[in-house]
């Protein structure tokens, strides 16, 4: 499965002199490291997991206290345990709209939780090639966006830049105050592509640049 040994790009080792190795242009084609990195940077679903756990803990504690007090004959709250269903008892039927709505809502929540659990989700960081098999490198999307935007804004003639990262693309929207921005778009494209080449992402990243003239 992870047959990457013997791949020419995989065996490239950074020299000791501190000089960087030539960029591995085909780094993204390595399936093993890419899969490993994707697994590593996939969302962990910790926030929904902890939230659901907290709700269940709360419900369990409340239920436990309630049932214990009912067992002792001193029910908390004004729900007589002999008639614990209170108003539900005879007036609510299986085919009532209320029953349907509540059941649908619960089913929807369950469906949502299953989706959250099963959908791999977009990786939080963009994986980069590493020279070592035990090392997984990633740049958080947010940081990459800001980093590229700063680089573009440093180009003479660029006012502001916004960067968006997609699945396989980086979209740059830059504004310029220049009346004749000849070659500027290509310049931006080159700067972003150069940075991405140096980062060596494990994904083929296409760069799209849109340049707008700033309206006064």
């Amino acid at each position: 499965m992870n047959d990457v040994t013997g791949h020419p790009a995989d065996t490239a080792v950074l020299p000791e002199t501190g000089q960087p190795a030539p960029p591995r242009a085909d780094a993204w084609s390595l399936p093993g490291p890419r899969r490993k990195a994707r697994r590593q940077f996939r969302p962990r679903r910790r926030i929904p997991g902890v939230l659901v756990a907290a709700v269940i803990v709360a419900a369990g504690i409340v239920g436990c206290i309630w049932a214990a007090s009912a067992a002792l004959g001193h029910p908390l709250w004004n729900i007589p345990h002999g008639d614990f269903a209170g108003p539900l008892q005879s007036s609510v039927h299986w085919d009532d709209t209320g029953t349907l709505i509540v059941a649908s809502a619960v089913a929807f929540v369950g469906f949502l939780l299953i989706l959250i659990a099963l959908i791999p989700g977009r990786t939080r960081a963009i994986p980069l090639a590493s020279g070592d098999e035990s090392l997984v490198i990633g740049v958080p999307r947010r940081s990459l966006r800001r980093s590229l935007a700063w680089l573009v804004e440093d180009i003479a003639g660029i006012d502001r830049a916004k960067v968006r990262t997609g699945r396989h693309s980086v979209k740059v929207r830059a504004t310029t105050p220049l009346r004749d921005p000849a070659g500027l778009r290509e310049n931006v494209q080159a700067v972003v592509e150069d940075r991405l080449t140096r980062l060596e992402p494990l994904w083929p990243v296409r760069v799209k640049v849109r340049l707008r003239r700033k309206e006064d």
């Binding site: 996939r42 803990v57 089913a107």
Partner: protein, 193 residues
């Protein structure tokens, strides 16, 4: 350990989701009169008089409900703890020779030396490191903030060739599975934060 946490979260969510979906699905099936012979009449009350009186007539019901609720709360609490733990390694045995006494190393001493080394590079603005997992074969979570104008290949060469190999030799390990989060910042942003 982080992958383990991800599995714990996802499997737990899937189990809860299936329980909710099946339970609500059964109620919906009965509400919509899917099968009267199996599920019963849709127009019947949600709770019959007999069901309401059941706990009063059987004294074991409430204690059992209380115990079950307690068990559910404990299980959910355990699930919560399993999701939030970081599995940080604090001490590492260096010479597991029980006859002549053992040598342990504080993990933060090793990672602190490493992050100090990283921060001494002009291209690296900040670094943090954490060892996690088992104390004999730990994994490393490394966060490095690099100067945006620096060549990322040089930054990575610094990390891969120097800091990581120094940590490996300090801990006497051949391999430390490492996850590196590389971020970029600008030097003057440090004064703003």
């Amino acid at each position: 350990m982080t992958r383990h946490t991800a599995r714990v979260s996802r499997i737990g969510l899937a189990i809860i989701g299936v329980i909710l979906l099946l339970g609500a699905g059964a109620v919906l099936a009965r509400s919509l009169n899917a099968s009267t012979s199996v599920l019963g009449n849709a127009h019947a009350p949600l709770l019959t008089h007999g069901q309401v009186q059941y706990p009063t007539k059987n004294s074991w019901v409430w204690p059992v409900v209380a115990a079950a609720s307690f068990l559910i709360a404990v299980l959910a609490l355990w699930w919560m703890a399993a999701q939030t733990k970081t599995g940080t390694v604090r001490r590492m045995p260096l010479e597991p020779d029980r006859v002549h006494g053992t040598t342990t190393l504080r993990a933060d001493a090793a990672t602190g030396a490493m992050t100090d080394e990283l921060k001494s590079h002009p291209n690296i603005l900040a670094a943090d490191a954490l060892l996690h997992g088992s104390s004999t074969t730990p994994g490393l979570r490394l966060g490095v903030t690099a100067e945006n104008r620096a060549d990322p290949r040089l930054v990575r060469a610094d990390i891969e060739n120097e800091a990581l190999s120094h940590l490996r030799s300090a801990l006497e390990l051949d391999e430390i599975p490492t996850v590196l989060r590389l971020q970029f910042s600008r030097a003057f942003d440090r004064h703003l934060v």
